[in-house]
C-alpha cells in the first residue's frame, strides 16, 4: 500500500456510521487528522486509504466539521470572507469536537526535528 499513490481524499466516519469523503488537503487544518493520515507514521488510518473513524463525534456534528473544512479550504487565501453559519444548538458539541481535533490551538504545534 505504501508504494501506491496517496489518495486525494480521506474518509471521515462518525460514531453513528455517516461517512464523509473530504479533500485530503482540506482536513490538514486539523493537526490531529493530519498526523492520523500521515503515511509516514503508518498507523492503521493511514494504511486504510485514509478511512478515519471517530468514536466521539456524531454525524450531525461531523457534517458541520466537514463543512468547516471545506469552508476553510475554499477561502484560505481570500480576504473578506462571509462568516460561516453555525446553528446555535450545535455550538457546544462543536466546541468539544474542535478541541478534540486540535482546531482551537492558539498557535501551530511546535516544530520538531526530522
Amino acid at each position: 500500500m505504501a508504494e501506491e499513490e496517496v489518495s486525494k481524499y480521506v474518509t471521515l466516519v462518525s460514531n453513528d456510521g455517516f461517512e464523509f469523503v473530504v479533500l485530503r488537503e482540506a482536513v490538514l487544518i486539523s493537526p490531529m487528522i493530519k498526523s492520523m493520515v500521515d503515511t509516514k507514521n503508518s498507523f492503521r488510518e493511514a494504511r486504510l486509504s485514509g478511512r478515519c473513524k471517530f468514536e466521539e463525534i456524531s454525524g450531525q456534528v461531523m457534517e458541520k466539521v466537514v463543512e468547516y473544512f471545506h469552508y476553510w479550504y475554499k477561502n484560505r487565501e481570500k480576504e473578506d470572507v462571509p462568516d460561516m453559519d453555525i446553528p446555535a444548538e450545535l455550538c457546544l458539541e462543536l466546541l468539544v469536537a474542535a478541541d478534540f481535533l486540535g482546531l482551537d490551538s492558539k498557535k501551530p504545534p511546535p516544530p520538531r526535528g526530522v
Binding site: 507514521n41 503508518s42 492503521r44 446555535a88 455550538c91 482546531l103 490551538s105 504545534p109 526535528g113
Partner: protein, 853 residues
C-alpha cells in the same frame, strides 16, 4: 477581514453559545457524552496507560501498523481530560528512559571498542587507515541507526500524545513531550560515560567524525552521506529540552572541535608546504583546499560552517605565511612576474583578496618589483655603449657614409629610444598582469602607477629622454608607420608624460626639439605634430601647450609671408636679387627656445650678429621694408644659425683629367646652413688657387668660433662633401690657423649635396649644455614659485607658513614637484626683497607672513 482561521471559528461558536444561553434557550439536541465526568479513577488511568504503553512498545518495534491512531489519541485525550496529564507525561518519560537503558545503549556501547577509543581520542598509532576507517564507520552507522529509529518513534509517539501537549504540557511551561523524549538520546547516549575508559561517547563520536574528515583530506574516500546524517542529528538536538535555537549541539559541541582540529591540520600542512618551498604548489594546494572545504560543507557537514571553516583555511594557509611564500626564491612573486606566470599571479591575487581587501602584501611586492625593474632599465642603459650599437647598425646597413664613430647625438637618441621603449614594455607587461591576473583592481593599479612614477622621476633625464623619443619618432619614423602605429606612439608618449613630475623640464626640452623640427623642416608629418600637441593640451591644459601652438602659428604665418614676399618681388620686376629665393620664418621671441632665439636677442654674449654677404644684406633690407609696411615699429633680428641656404654651384673641369667626372664641368646644388653660405660666398670673389685662412674667414664673417670650426670641418673633412680643400691635413679636424681654398676637383654622385656642420650634436646636450638647461629650469622654477607665493599672499594678505607652502604646492603641482626647502628659500628671498614680512600673531606665538603691498 482576514482569511478564516480556527480561532475566529471558535470565537464565533462561543458567541453563539453565549447568545442562546442569554435567551434562555437550551441548545437543542444537546447530549452529554455517556461517561460522567468524575475525579480520576485509578483503574481507568491504568487501563488507558496500559494501552498506550503497549502501543509505545509496538512503535519502537515498528509494529504500529495495526494500531488505530484515533483510539490511541483518545486514550491520551481521556487521561488529560481527567487531569492526569502529569502522570502520563512522567510515565512516558520513564518508559522511554527504561527503553533506552535496556535496548539502545547496550547496542551502542558494544560498538565502542578499546581500539576505537585509542585511535580517536588517545591518538595511539598502529592500525592501518583502512582498519580505522571501517571501525569508525561501523560506530557512526550504529549511532545513525539508533538515532533514526529513535527519531521516528518519538515523532509517532508525539503524534498520538498530541493532546497531552495541548491540554497539559503547554499550560505547565514544560518542554513538549517530543522535546523531552528526543533529548533522551543526548542524555543517555551522547553524554554517557563509558566506564572502563572513562570517556564520553560524545567525544568519541566527534573524534571519529573528525578522523573521517581528515582521512578525506588526505585523499581517502569516505561515506559522506553517513557523516551528513550524523552532523544533521547534531543539528536537530539541543543542549537542553528548552530547544533554544542558538544551543544546537552542532554549534555547541561539534563545530568548535571541528574548527580546532582543522586549524591544527592546516597549520601542519602549511608548514610542510613552506618547507617544500614552492609557491606555485602552495597556491594551487590552497585553492584546492578551499574548494574542498566548500564541497565538504555542502555534502558532508553543514553549510552553516562554511564561512568559519574557510576562515580557518584562509588564516592558516594564506595569512600566516603569506609573505614567506611571496618572497620564496624561484617561485615567489618575483619569479612569477619575471616568468609571466599568469595563472600563479591570478591565484595569488584571488587568495590575497580573500584575506585582505586592501591587498597590502601584494601591493608592496608589486611596487618593489616595478621599481627594481625600473632601476634595472637605468642600469642597463648606463652600461650600454650606444656608440658601438649604432656602429653595428650602420655596418649592417652598409651605410659607409656614416661616421664610423657615432656622434653623441645619435648615441643619446638611441639611449632615449631604448629607455622609453623599455619603460613602455615594462608598463605594457604590468598592464597585462593587471587585467589578466588582478581583475583590473583599482588599489593595485594605483600602486603600480605610483611605482612607475617613482622610478621614472628618480631618473634625472626622464624628461629629456621622453622628449627625444617623441622627437625621434616624429622626425623619422612616422612616414613608414601606419596610422595605428602612430596612434600608439602618441598614446604611449602621453602615458609616460602622465607619470612625469618635472613637466616644466619636459616643456623646455620639447620646445627645443620642436623648434628644431619646425625650422629644419625635419618633421615628417605636421598633422601628427598637431595631434601630439592637442593631446598634451587635453592632458595638461592650455598653458602647457601655449608656446608650442605659438610656434606652429609663427611657422604657418611665415609660410604665407614668404609667398606674399615672393609675389611682391615679382611685382617689382627684375632686380639684382630676384634670383635669390627667400623663405623666411618670423618667430615671436617668447614662444621659441632660448637656444634658438635668445642668443641673438640678448646678444651680450655673442656681440653683433654675423656679417652677411652684400647680396644677402640687400635681400634682408628688401624683406624688412616689405615686412614693416604693415607692421611698423617691429624689429627683425636675423638668426643665421637657424637657417639654411641652397646654392647652385659650378665646378669647372679639372685640367689634365681625360676621362671621368672631373673631365667635365660639374653643377651641384649645395644645401648648407646660412653660416655655410656666408663662408662659401667669400670664395666667389677669390681668384683661383688662392686660399683663405681660418682667421680671415672668421674676421670677415664674424661667425662664432665653435660654429665656424664645426662648419669648416663639415665642408672639408669628409671626402664626399669636400667642397673646400684644407691645408694642412685635408681630412682632419679644423683648427685655427688652417688655410682653405675652393676644391675644384670636388665630385659628387648626386646633384644635391647636403653640407652640414659636423659634431654639432644638435639634439644632444653635452654636459655643459645640460647644466645650462638645468640651471635654466631651476631659474624658471624659482620664478614660478615666487610668482605663486606672491599671488597667494596678495589674495590672503596674512598666512601661516605651513598653509602657504601647501597652497604653493597645490598651485604648481601641475608643472613640477617642488622641494620643501626650495620653497622655503624662495619665501626667505621674498622677505629679503620686502615683498613679505614675518610677524608673530598675538597669543599663538606662531610665525606668519604678511603681504607688503
Amino acid at each position: 477581514m482576514a482569511p478564516p482561521n480556527n480561532e475566529a471559528m471558535i470565537e464565533a461558536m462561543m458567541k453563539a453559545l453565549a447568545l442562546s444561553a442569554a435567551r434562555g434557550i437550551p441548545p437543542a439536541n444537546f447530549q452529554f457524552r455517556p461517561q460522567p465526568i468524575v475525579a480520576p479513577n485509578a483503574d481507568e488511568f491504568d487501563f488507558n496507560w496500559k494501552q498506550l504503553e503497549s502501543a509505545l512498545r509496538d512503535i519502537h518495534e515498528k509494529n504500529a501498523s495495526g494500531l488505530s491512531f484515533e483510539q490511541l489519541y483518545r486514550y491520551a485525550y481521556k487521561i488529560v481530560l481527567k487531569k492526569a496529564g502529569d502522570r502520563l507525561y512522567e510515565n512516558v518519560k520513564q518508559f522511554e528512559e527504561r527503553w533506552f537503558t535496556d535496548k539502545v545503549c547496550p547496542r551502542i556501547f558494544d560498538l565502542i571498542s578499546r581500539n576505537l577509543v585509542d585511535m580517536t581520542l588517545n591518538d595511539v598509532p598502529g592500525s592501518s587507515v583502512v582498519e580505522r576507517r571501517s571501525m569508525g564507520e561501523r560506530f557512526l552507522k550504529g549511532i545513525r541507526e539508533a538515532w533514526e529509529e529513535h527519531n521516528t518513534s518519538m515523532n509517532m509517539t508525539a503524534d498520538i500524545l498530541m493532546y497531552l501537549d495541548r491540554g497539559f504540557t503547554q499550560g505547565q511551561n514544560r518542554p513538549t513531550i517530543f522535546a523531552a523524549t528526543i533529548g533522551l538520546f543526548r542524555d543517555h547516549i551522547l553524554r554517557a560515560t563509558i566506564h572502563e575508559t572513562n570517556c564520553i561517547v560524545f567525544d568519541i563520536f566527534n573524534a571519529t567524525i573528525l578522523d573521517q574528515i581528515n582521512m578525506e583530506r588526505e585523499g581517502d574516500v569516505i561515506d559522506k552521506a553517513l557523516l551528513r546524517s550524523c552532523t544533521s542529528m547534531l543539528d536537530s538536538l539541543y543542549r537542553t529540552d528548552e530547544e533554544n535555537e542558538d544551543e544546537k549541539l552542532y554549534f555547541e559541541v561539534f563545530e568548535p572541535v571541528f574548527l580546532e582540529s582543522s586549524h591544527a591540520f592546516y597549520k601542519n600542512e602549511c608548514e610542510r608546504l613552506l618547507q617544500e618551498g614552492d609557491a606555485a604548489t602552495w597556491l594551487r594546494h590552497t585553492q584546492r583546499r578551499l574548494d574542498e572545504e566548500s564541497d565538504r560543507c555542502a555534502t558532508t557537514i553543514s553549510l552553516t560552517s562554511l564561512p568559519k571553516i574557510l576562515a580557518v583555511v584562509e588564516q592558516e594557509l594564506i595569512s600566516k605565511h603569506l609573505e614567506e611564500f611571496m618572497n620564496l626564491d624561484g617561485s615567489g612573486v618575483r619569479a612569477m612576474i619575471d616568468n609571466d606566470r599568469i595563472e600563479d599571479l591570478k591565484l595569488l591575487y584571488q587568495l590575497v583578496s580573500r584575506i585582505d581587501p586592501k591587498k597590502s602584501a601584494l601591493k608592496t611586492a608589486l611596487s618593489v618589483r616595478v621599481i627594481e625593474l625600473g632601476y634595472e632599465i637605468e642600469k642597463v642603459l648606463a652600461q650600454t655603449d650606444f656608440a658601438v650599437l649604432a656602429d653595428e647598425a650602420s655596418a649592417t646597413n652598409g651605410d659607409k657614409s656614416k661616421n664610423k664613430r657615432n656622434n653623441a647625438s645619435a648615441q643619446l637618441t638611441a639611449a632615449a629610444v631604448k629607455w622609453v621603449a623599455d619603460v613602455l614594455a615594462l608598463k605594457v607587461r604590468f598592464d597585462r598582469l593587471l587585467s589578466d591576473c588582478f581583475a583590473d583592481d583599482l588599489t593595485l593599479q594605483t600602486a603600480l602607477t605610483k611605482s612607475f612614477a617613482e622610478f621614472i622621476n628618480r631618473f634625472d633625464r626622464s624628461a629629456e629622454y621622453l622628449s627625444l623619443y617623441i622627437d625621434h619618432n616624429l622626425k623619422a619614423g612616422v612616414k613608414d608607420k601606419s596610422e595605428a602605429e602612430v596612434e600608439l606612439v602618441l598614446e604611449q608618449a602621453i602615458t609616460l608624460l602622465r607619470y612625469l613630475e618635472g613637466k616644466d623640464q619636459f616643456e623646455t626640452y620639447y620646445q627645443k626639439h620642436l623648434a628644431r623640427r619646425l625650422l629644419q623642416q625635419k618633421s615628417s608629418d605636421l598633422e601628427v605634430e598637431t595631434e601630439m600637441i592637442s593631446r598634451m593640451k587635453r592632458e595638461l591644459g592650455n598653458s602647457f601647450t601655449h608656446k608650442f601652438e605659438g610656434m606652429f602659428r609663427d611657422i604657418n604665418l611665415s609660410k604665407d609671408m614668404s609667398e606674399a614676399y615672393a609675389k611682391h618681388v615679382r611685382g617689382l620686376g627684375a632686380s639684382s636679387h630676384d634670383q635669390i629665393g627667400l623663405a623666411i620664418n618670423v618667430l615671436g621671441g617668447n614662444n621659441w627656445p632660448k637656444e634658438t632665439v635668445g642668443k641673438y636677442l640678448g646678444s651680450e654674449q655673442t656681440g653683433p650678429g654675423i656679417n652677411f654677404p652684400a647680396e644677402i644684406k640687400a635681400l634682408q633690407d628688401s624683406f624688412y621694408s616689405f615686412y614693416s609696411k604693415d607692421r611698423t615699429g617691429r624689429k627683425l633680428t636675423w638668426i643665421a644659425s637657424a637657417g639654411t641656404a641652397e646654392i647652385r654651384s659650378f665646378f669647372p673641369k679639372v685640367p689634365g683629367e681625360k676621362s671621368g667626372p672631373k673631365s667635365k664641368d660639374r653643377r651641384y646644388e649645395l644645401s648648407v646652413p646660412t653660416y655655410g653660405m656666408a663662408i662659401l660666398l667669400l670664395f666667389n670673389d677669390l681668384p683661383d688657387g688662392e686660399s683663405l685662412s681660418f682667421e680671415e674667414i672668421q674676421e670677415r664673417t664674424n661667425i662664432p668660433q665653435t660654429d665656424l670650426i664645426n662648419l669648416l670641418t663639415g665642408m672639408s673633412a669628409i671626402k664626399s662633401k669636400r667642397v673646400l680643400w684644407k691645408e694642412p691635413n685635408p681630412s682632419g679636424k679644423t683648427a685655427p690657423g688652417d688655410k682653405f681654398k675652393f676644391n675644384n676637383a670636388f665630385v659628387s654622385p648626386t646633384f644635391k649635396v647636403k653640407l652640414a656642420s659636423v659634431n654639432v650634436a644638435n639634439q644632444v646636450e653635452n654636459d655643459e649644455e645640460r647644466k645650462e638647461t638645468d640651471e635654466r629650469t631651476l631659474e624658471s622654477r624659482r620664478h614660478c614659485i615666487e610668482a605663486a607665493v606672491v599671488r597667494i599672499m596678495k589674495q590672503r594678505k596674512e598666512l601661516e607658513h605651513q598653509q602657504l607652502v601647501m597652497e604653493v604646492i597645490q598651485q604648481i603641482s601641475g608643472q613640477f614637484k617642488p622641494d620643501l626647502s626650495f620653497i622655503k628659500n624662495r619665501i626667505t628671498d621674498l622677505i629679503d626683497r620686502e615683498y613679505l614680512e614675518r610677524f608673530e600673531r598675538d597669543g599663538t606665538g606662531r610665525a606668519e607672513y604678511r603681504y607688503l603691498a
